[in-house]
């Protein structure tokens, strides 16, 4: 196994805790003898573990005090009395300094970033942006009213071929496409002749796509309609063709399209009513994790997005064994996917060649422009200008061999995209201080993609070397929706949102539960996260402490706010003790059984993800069998009974009180005051990392503890860094974790600012010499 990777899973302890220096004599340390006698059999000579014992390496982030307490309570397994008091203290000190602590791990080593390939997400984004680089960017106008621009035309056409009919036109912005005109006509501005009873409408604008995946659009209509998504020319095959309308009956026609998240796409819906009695048109969609709904106005805008190349190639999942996605493995399926996306891209480039290379068929300089385009394309794939000899290797031979320029371009695109210099970004650069390498690292960290025009030009002008310039670029780049998409990916991971994919609930106990409800809850959680992260303060603590929920009409009925009408709004819910993500009904529902709460699932989630502690796998797997308990017990009583054993309590002393704190929320996250006719008890005593006992009552105490907890901050910083940079934190300096966390604290726990610092850190990896 790769040693550098092994170290990367280390969990760090940062500045606040006492650091005992290197003056300790480990050879003659009294703890060493104890270790050899009582621990070595299972944990190995240097804490690496033994094959027989199946224990994890003795490395971690606990403080010495915490480690001592843990040994005192839980070690050696089944003989816990044999190593207590002074013995436990001594052996802990030895273990801590000999191999457990981060410093011990790092002794004499420099961790370097691994050469990794682009992850699936990075590959998709990079290829899309590589082609998009050659198109003019479009920016949404600020403060535009959400919705699509509708171009209305009313007429009195009764008979084909008669040109004596009258037509009147007007425009307006429609927040949604959801109209039942009945036998009437659209509401018209003043002065329009309302006797014109036939009409057609063309809605145009853009649609914002948050999450990468397959979107299913549906047109519901009695009449004729066509939908174009990411197709700018209405002569292209529509995403949905429902132009022919038999019998004036309501019908639904659907079309699926794969789209990359964090981007806006052009959308156009054409509609017409002709001599039919009634008119009705609705535009619906189903997001990757959603249920079918009218496309909400919040994702619609009136700007016309440019065409975006999107390949629907599916990549195999990236390695996640280190807790974050890394491009550290290759496989045949992956290679096939790389080949597929390269061919897709080549097709697209050739199909739009004149546009991308800014030429025309009869341009006398076409050939020259195509060659220049080919060289530029390759340069941007390598994320730096071509070096001497590279044009001769990557461009010229293809033009020499291919029969047509189009064929040559096809091969250039294939060659560039399958080249290791594109796929393994680090291999394109020869020295670490190369400003092009920094630009590449910055854009991968913020967008999972290649540098855009502004970053490229700044790099070419040598501006990245100026102090503060990298940070300035990072702030600029953070405003792009792709950056938000990437951060959303972190929350998906941190909050384990994929768990919700196969949730089911007892339909008698929870008739409210539905796919629609989960879809709404996911949207509610996304709105909550966006609201905090992309606000000015971007305060991490608010993720845990804010007492608000986003509810729409449907959710309002379920969660005790029946007065809410229509779409989502932010509602303060202090009485129920709602406190940030901890009590968000989406997570409470995901971490619960089909017919009841699950304090264990909730507790484990809080322990690992929110409070930032590590947990070992249970020594033996015990299934929770509801029917083996007397029926009148509460869930809390059952769990207490089940985990009573000492071996269990090593971890459940942490898990249970955290899980119990949420017992006021039922299996779909509604507030409750009783279970089995007994009042809910959400009190508990939490054994903290530093060995203290903390009385908690309800989730707000947990949130307050986590918001101030050093371990929680440290875990958040570490996980966010790994998601952002996809390399071990240690490869960016042995004290980078401390530095980032200190900055985080100093900046009022501002997440956006932390992200900028991380992106800059990504440009400064350790080098073999440092």
């Amino acid at each position: 196994m790769n040693l550098r990777l092994a170290i990367s899973v280390l969990l760090f302890v940062a500045g606040l805790l006492p650091r005992l220096g290197g003056a300790i004599d480990l050879e003659n340390h009294p703890g060493k003898a104890i270790y050899q006698k009582q621990c070595l059999e299972c944990h190995g000579k240097n804490g690496e573990g033994t094959d027989d014992a199946d224990v994890d390496p003795l490395v971690g982030k606990r403080s010495l005090e915490s480690l001592t307490g843990r040994i005192e309570r839980t070690m050696p397994e089944d003989r816990e009395d044999e190593c207590v008091g002074e013995d436990a203290k001594q052996v802990a000190e030895y273990i801590y300094h000999a191999f457990y602590s981060p410093e011990a791990q790092l002794r004499g080593k420099t961790v370097l970033p691994d050469v990794t390939r682009l992850t699936a997400e990075q590959m998709q984004n990079s290829v899309t942006d590589l082609i998009g680089y050659f198109r003019d960017a479009s920016y949404p106008p600020e403060n535009e009213k959400p919705g699509l621009k509708g171009y209305y035309a009313l007429n009195n056409k009764k008979k084909a071929g008669k040109s004596d009919h009258k037509t009147e036109r007007f425009e307006r912005v429609d927040p949604n496409i959801r109209f039942d005109f009945g036998t009437g006509i659209p509401k018209t501005p003043e002065g329009i002749d309302e006797s014109l009873d036939q009409f057609n409408i063309s809605w145009k604008g853009s649609i914002f796509i948050r999450e990468t995946g397959t979107y299913e659009f549906t047109i519901r209509t009695r009449n004729g309609a066509k939908l174009f998504v990411n197709e700018l020319d209405d002569k292209e095959e529509p995403t949905i063709d429902a132009w022919v309308a038999p019998n004036n009956e309501v019908r639904e026609e659907s079309g699926k399209i794969f789209l990359l998240g964090g981007r806006r796409y052009f959308v156009r819906l054409d509609f017409f009513k002709y001599q039919e009695e009634k008119a009705l048109i609705e535009l619906l969609w189903k997001r990757p994790h959603g249920s079918r709904e009218v496309v909400p106005s919040s994702v619609l805008g009136q700007d016309w997005a440019r065409r975006t190349f999107v390949s629907s190639t599916t990549f195999p999942a990236d390695d996640r064994s280190y807790g974050y996605e890394r491009g550290s493995t290759v496989s045949r399926v992956w290679l096939d996917a790389v080949t597929d996306i390269a061919f897709d891209a080549a097709d697209h480039v050739v199909a739009h060649l004149n546009e991308l290379a800014r030429t025309k068929d009869d341009d006398p300089k076409r050939e020259e422009k195509l060659r220049n385009f080919a060289a530029e394309f390759t340069a941007h794939a390598f994320r730096r200008p071509l070096r001497k000899g590279e044009k001769e290797a990557y461009v010229d031979p293809h033009f020499a061999k291919a029969k047509t320029s189009e064929e040559a371009i096809r091969r250039v695109v294939l060659h560039a995209i399958t080249s290791p210099r594109f796929i393994y970004p680090a291999t394109a650069f020869e020295y670490p201080d190369d400003p092009w390498a920094k630009a590449s690292a910055l854009s991968l960290a913020i967008w999972d993609s290649i540098p855009d025009k502004k970053l490229w030009n700044a790099t070419a002008k040598g501006q990245l070397n100026k102090s503060g310039q990298l940070e300035k670029e990072a702030w600029r780049m953070q405003w792009d929706q792709r950056a938000r998409h990437k951060v959303a990916g972190f929350f998906d991971h941190w909050l384990e949102l994929s768990r919700s994919n196969d949730i089911a609930k007892d339909s008698e106990l929870f008739p409210q539960f539905s796919e629609q409800m989960m879809s709404d809850l996911r949207m509610s959680l996304e709105l909550f996260l966006d609201d905090i992260v992309w606000s000015e303060n971007s305060d991490y603590r608010q993720l845990l402490l804010a007492d608000s929920l986003f509810l729409n009409e449907r959710l309002g009925k379920i969660y005790g706010k029946p007065e809410i009408k229509g779409g989502f709004q932010k509602v303060s819910m202090p009485k129920e003790g709602r406190t940030g993500v901890i009590t968000h009904p989406f997570l409470l529902t995901a971490f619960a059984y089909h017919n009841n709460t699950s304090p264990i699932h909730r507790g484990v989630f809080l322990t690992r993800n929110i409070v930032g502690m590590t947990l070992r796998p249970p020594p033996e797997a015990i299934e929770f069998k509801d029917n083996e308990f007397p029926p009148n017990l509460t869930m809390r009583e059952k769990v207490t009974e089940l985990t009573r054993a000492k071996a269990c309590m090593a971890c459940h002393s942490m898990i249970n009180p955290l899980g119990f704190s949420l017992e006021h929320y039922d299996a779909i996250g509604r507030w409750r005051t009783k279970e089995q006719n007994k009042p809910i008890n959400d009190d508990g005593v939490l054994k903290t990392d530093s060995g203290d006992s903390l009385n908690i009552k309800g989730p707000r105490d947990v949130a307050k503890y986590a918001a101030d907890s050093h371990a929680a901050h440290e875990a958040f910083v570490r996980q966010l860094f790994h998601h952002t940079v996809k390399q071990p934190l240690l490869a960016y300096g042995s004290n980078k974790a401390d530095e980032l966390e200190n900055q985080f604290r100093k900046n009022g726990y501002n997440i956006r600012s932390l992200l900028v610092k991380m992106a800059v850190a990504a440009t400064e990896p350790n080098t073999p010499k440092s």
């Binding site: 995403t239 132009w243 290679l335 897709d344 091969r411 290791p420 291999t427």
Partner: protein, 445 residues
């Protein structure tokens, strides 16, 4: 439907993807080709459509005094005269909504009314799609339901210069009520459908070579640990290269993939080229038993093809409206229809030159071609006396060819659809609108 989602993945198409079955067994009709001759002769059907009516004087053969002589329009089919039957007197009797072009087109193979709808033609009331299945799709379902006649595709719908719009004028095949089937008019797409993206194979072979060199070059500068990942990558590329070279050794298709370049720009003036490529692909697909049903749709009803290659600059549909006394228009329309017959002759020739796999004779002996039009005559928009032509297939159908058969005026064309179905072994007694089938199938034997 978004084309990129529907597109099957490139390497899978090449059959070289990991875990894919060996190249050939993944190919169409391989199994049924082998098992083919177990149950009687193969029966195939090709339907060819050309639009906007014909010029009757130049179309209907001279039959006075027992003669059977082709006039200008059918002249290109002269070499196959004794294999051609011309059916006179058939009408598309389907009434209801939609103008006659629409009904002519969308009721031609369905024999059933259009739904009322929102599409307005040049006259009559607006209409929607056809309310029934078309005969080609009916026979497809019939063939696909039986092991002995099932093929990989069941049916293939070819188009030539069909405009990219979906309405009752552009669709003649229907999988069911309200379910029009779009023809594929891009030979490149058809080639991909039939054989995968083989034309990209050459690119892939040279690419695999380039990538290996690149990886070796880049790896040389890396430490041994980092090199490991790139080495694995390199091994995978080598594996792919090996599979590609092995494929070349396997060429066991009954009829190898046609050596044609399907990349042709879909513009009006390329129509003659597209037409031939499509027919070559069709004959090849039939020979490899990928399908036994094929349609070939030229343009669309009301199509405005400008046949510059014939010296005709006006749009086809516009010309077809010219009155009978416009000699120039008549001449041009004759030329246009002659050209369609010439294309049909090419298809006939290809089939007659291709030996029937696993049986005596040529493919033409087992393939019935039906050439039809949505109108009888362009300027009157009549649905009477539609020019129906049958060619070949005698060994499969027992039809008697080499003659013009005159039916009483106004014989519903549903009865022809019925005859075709029965000749293919599908024993149905009614097709489309029942009232037009009461007299049963036409006797063509």
């Amino acid at each position: 439907m978004n084309p990129s989602i529907e597109r099957r993945r490139f390497l899978k198409q090449l059959g070289v993807s990991a875990g894919a079955a060996p190249f050939l067994s993944g190919l169409p009709g391989f199994g049924s080709l082998m098992a083919g001759d177990a149950k009687g002769p193969k029966k195939r059907l090709i339907v060819m459509f050309s639009p906007n009516g014909t010029i009757p004087e130049e179309f209907w053969p001279e039959t006075a005094e027992g003669k059977y002589e082709f006039k200008r329009i059918l002249k290109p089919l002269e070499p196959y005269k004794n294999r051609v039957a011309v059916l006179k007197g058939l009408s598309n009797k389907i009434g209801g909504d939609g103008d006659r072009h629409m009904r002519g087109m969308s009721c031609l193979l369905t024999g059933k009314e259009l739904f009322p709808g929102n599409i307005q033609g040049g006259s009559d009331s607006p209409a929607g799609w056809a309310s029934g299945i078309s005969i080609d799709q009916e026979l497809k379902n019939f063939f696909q339901a039986n092991d002995a006649t099932r093929t990989r595709f069941g049916s293939l719908e070819f188009g030539v210069a069909v405009p990219n719009r979906a309405d009752p004028w552009t669709r003649m095949s229907y999988a069911g009520p309200n379910q029009p089937v779009a023809p594929i008019d891009d030979p490149k797409k058809m080639m991909e459908r039939l054989y995968g993206r083989m034309e990209d194979k050459e690119n892939l072979v040279s690419l695999v070579d380039d990538v290996q060199k690149d990886i070796e070059k880049v790896s040389a500068r890396l430490g041994s640990e980092d090199r490991q990942l790139l080495n694995e990558h390199l091994n995978l590329v080598r594996e792919l290269e090996k599979e590609l070279s092995q494929q070349d050794e396997n060429k066991e298709l009954a009829h190898p993939m046609p050596e044609i370049d399907p990349k042709v720009e879909l513009v009006n003036d390329n129509t003659p080229r597209i037409s031939r490529i499509q027919m070559d692909l069709m004959v090849n697909a039939l020979a490899n038993d990928m399908t036994r049903i094929a349609t070939l749709q030229y343009m669309r009803s009301v199509g405005q093809a400008r046949m510059n290659w014939l010296g005709v600059e006006e749009g086809h549909h516009g010309l077809s409206h010219e009155p009978d006394n416009n000699a120039d228009a008549k001449e041009k329309l004759t030329k246009i229809n002659e050209w369609f017959a010439g294309e049909l002759a090419y298809l006939t020739k290809r089939l007659s030159e291709t030996p029937e796999p696993g049986a005596d004779g040529s493919m033409l002996d087992y393939t019935t071609i039906v050439w039809l039009n949505e109108l009888g005559k362009g300027n009157s928009h009549t649905l009477d006396n539609i020019p129906f032509v049958l060619i070949g297939g005698e060994k499969a159908t027992g039809f008697k060819m080499g003659r013009q058969i005159e039916f009483p005026k106004g014989t519903p064309h549903n009865r022809l659809l019925l005859s075709i179905a029965q000749s293919m072994g599908h024993d149905i007694q009614s097709f489309g609108t029942d009232m037009f089938c009461t007299d049963g199938a036409l006797n063509l034997a």
